[in-house]
């Protein structure tokens, strides 16, 4: 069964149609990249999938492991195994990163009918994840994303993903604002989480990220539609030719 199946998806923001018929299937273990210029609908796609109520699905279907996720609120989608790494992670003063992670892990476990992790088990789990995604202790003790640098915020997103062990990871322009070192750290983290069951949807403006996270499939999103799909070589094609060829096809 496909992990994620998107059929003829239409979506609007503030009554303005943004997505105009997206079709996409992600099977377990596959990494799909969506590339597109500014305003093509990349962030809308990730937000509609994650269940942001500011984004309205107007037509089509989104199936996660065969289940229509329309009826699931954002937290239920997360509990079902979808994870969105934010382009702009939110700063939350007054909640420590550790407390936040524990609440998240236990919310998912509760939803899945599993026992709650106690403080000791949770700490053990964090220690084991720190071996996969390197993160400084002080970032875990500080308030969620508060005063973090751009790179630290993105690393924190990937660390959260490692801790939550989703079935599908959606990375919304995770590369934006990162220097080459930070990009490498984030990509190494994602690559460490790749396995035959977990799927990824990597959304990016630039080909650069895909040098580090090598996708199985690349899709080009322009004006709310996927205009071309192919293998990883498509990303290189875009790098040399840009989006101009497609962006011009559909006038205002």
């Amino acid at each position: 069964m496909a992990l994620l199946e998107i059929k003829d998806l239409h979506a609007s923001v503030a009554d303005k149609p943004i997505l105009k018929g997206i079709n996409l299937t992600i099977n377990p273990g596959e990494v799909h990249a969506i590339m597109g210029p500014n305003g093509s609908g990349k962030s809308t796609l990730s937000n509609v999938l994650a269940g942001n109520e500011a984004y309205e699905k107007t037509a089509g279907q989104m199936l996660f492991e065969g289940q229509d996720i329309d009826e699931l609120a954002a937290h239920e989608r997360a509990c079902a195994g979808m994870f969105l790494a934010f382009q702009y992670p939110v700063e939350i003063a007054g909640i420590s990163n550790m407390y936040f992670l524990k609440a998240a892990v236990n919310a998912v476990r509760k939803y899945q009918g599993k026992e709650q992790l106690d403080a000791m088990d949770f700490l053990d789990m964090i220690e084991s994840k720190k071996k996969v995604i390197k993160i400084r202790n002080d970032l875990l003790e500080r308030a969620v994303n508060s005063g973090f640098s751009g790179g630290e915020k993105k690393r924190n997103e990937i660390f959260q993903m490692a801790v939550m062990e989703p079935k599908l990871g959606i990375l919304d322009e995770t590369d934006s604002g990162l220097d080459i070192d930070a990009l490498r750290v984030v990509s190494d983290g994602v690559n460490a989480l790749r396995d035959e069951k977990r799927g990824f949807l990597v959304i990016t403006h630039y080909q650069r990220l895909l040098e580090y996270i090598v996708p199985d499939f690349v899709h080009v999103l322009v004006h709310g539609q996927i205009v071309k799909s192919g293998g990883k070589e498509l990303a290189l094609e875009l790098e040399s030719d840009g989006y101009a060829g497609w962006a011009g096809e559909e006038g205002p």
Partner: protein, 396 residues
């Protein structure tokens, strides 16, 4: 002036001026006619209320009178003196809190008990002193006078906790004077859990010597009508005053905080972080005035007041005020009133946390920032528990 003369003068002041009205600038948003028009009795009864001791040293007042039986302060380190203010006449009583308002005057005129805490020079008192005020006498007025003196290079932690029985109508009128000597450190807490029908007024006056540190956390849950007047006087160079506070209000509670920080000399710091969470038709007033006198060069003063409204009917009046007569100073202030951040709620939701829990987490986080600087761990844990408890009742 002897204590008796002081009392007579205060009684005359109170008689002459009477209670303030909303026509006075400092009382514009807080109408105390309910207190002025009420009749209070002086009949005493023991209090049938429990409390959780936060230290091995506990001084308990029941319905305005020291209870030796419930207290425990027999074994004290050398240089530390604790007792009833009625047994220790110190000439400094009344020198800080004089006749600022009818509440202070009536307290000076009528106070019948209160705590006396003195730590002599060079003594570090590491055990906190927990002052507990239990109230369950309907129709009573409690004029409590506390005196705290921390000598030069000494250290002391004092927690004032006011606990009242639900539904009881009474009036707590407290005044606390704090002297912090040169290089002294006073860590002071006030937890106000009065009856939701009670009146609670307190004036806290703190004077700081050179290089002294005075820290105050005022956490308010109770009283129908209440006010904290907190006044700090930085009298020696290098002094630092930290005055943080949190008020959690619901139903028709009205709570007013009036802060006055007086920078009289150079090179002192003061910072104030005040937060409020208001539900139902509750109302909060925050007025923070920082005065930087002409000689107070290189003052560093920061003040902020944030309010979270959980209901459309709740209301806040926030009035930060800076009055600066020196030219080389760093002073900032700010005030906010708002709701929870929708983006933060969504972020928590994408991590599996349902909106109800997310709401509770963010509300707690908002309040928790005030507790960041609480140095005493058992007090922090205790206050956090009270805040969680309050929040769980509000969201239920």
């Amino acid at each position: 002036m002897s204590l008796n003369e002081l009392r007579e003068k205060a009684a005359a002041d109170f008689k002459a001026k009477g209670f303030p009205t909303t026509k006075e600038e400092l009382w514009r948003f807080t109408d105390v006619s309910r207190v002025a028009n009420a009749e209070f009795s002086n009949e005493w009864k023991p209090a049938d209320l429990n409390f959780e001791p936060l230290s091995s040293i506990v001084v308990v007042f029941e319905n305005g009178k020291l209870s030796r039986e419930k207290s425990n302060f027999d074994e004290l380190p050398a240089g530390v003196c604790i007792g009833s203010i009625m047994d220790r006449v110190d000439p400094r009583i009344g020198t800080l809190a004089d006749s600022q308002s009818a509440f202070v005057s009536s307290n000076t005129a009528f106070f019948s008990d209160g705590a006396f805490v003195e730590v002599t020079d060079g003594v570090e008192m590491n055990t906190p002193i927990h002052l507990v005020y239990l109230a369950d006498a309907d129709g009573a007025a409690f004029h409590l006078r506390n005196f705290i003196s921390c000598g030069a290079k000494s250290k002391v932690t004092v927690i004032e906790e006011y606990i009242g029985e639900t539904e009881k109508n009474y009036w707590t009128n407290a005044v606390t004077e704090v002297f912090t000597g040169d290089g002294g450190m006073v860590d002071h807490y006030k937890v106000q859990r009065e009856s939701a029908s009670a009146f609670h007024f307190q004036t806290l006056e703190a004077q700081l010597g050179a290089d002294a540190v005075f820290s105050n956390h005022a956490i308010t849950f109770g009283s129908a009508l209440g006010r904290n007047d907190i006044r700090g006087k930085l009298m020696g160079e290098g002094g630092e005053a930290i005055c943080n506070g949190l008020y959690l209000l619901k139903d028709k509670q009205h709570f007013d905080t009036h802060m006055f920080m007086d920078h009289a000399v150079a090179k002192c710091n003061s910072h104030e972080l005040y937060k409020g969470i208001l539900d139902d038709k509750s109302r909060a007033v925050f007025c923070g005035r920082i005065l930087v006198q002409q000689d107070a060069q290189q003052t560093d003063a920061v003040q902020s007041n944030g309010n979270l409204l959980l209901s459309r009917a709740a209301k806040v009046n926030s009035l930060p005020q800076l009055e600066i007569y020196a030219d080389d100073v760093k002073c900032t202030h700010g005030a906010t009133v708002g709701q929870l951040d929708e983006q933060a709620l969504y972020y928590l939701q994408t991590r599996g946390i349902d909106p109800k829990q997310g709401h509770a987490m963010l509300t707690f986080a908002f309040a928790n920032e005030v507790l960041d600087e609480v140095k005493c761990k058992p007090i922090k844990t205790y206050i956090e528990g009270l805040v969680q408890d309050w929040l769980s009742k509000v969201s239920a």
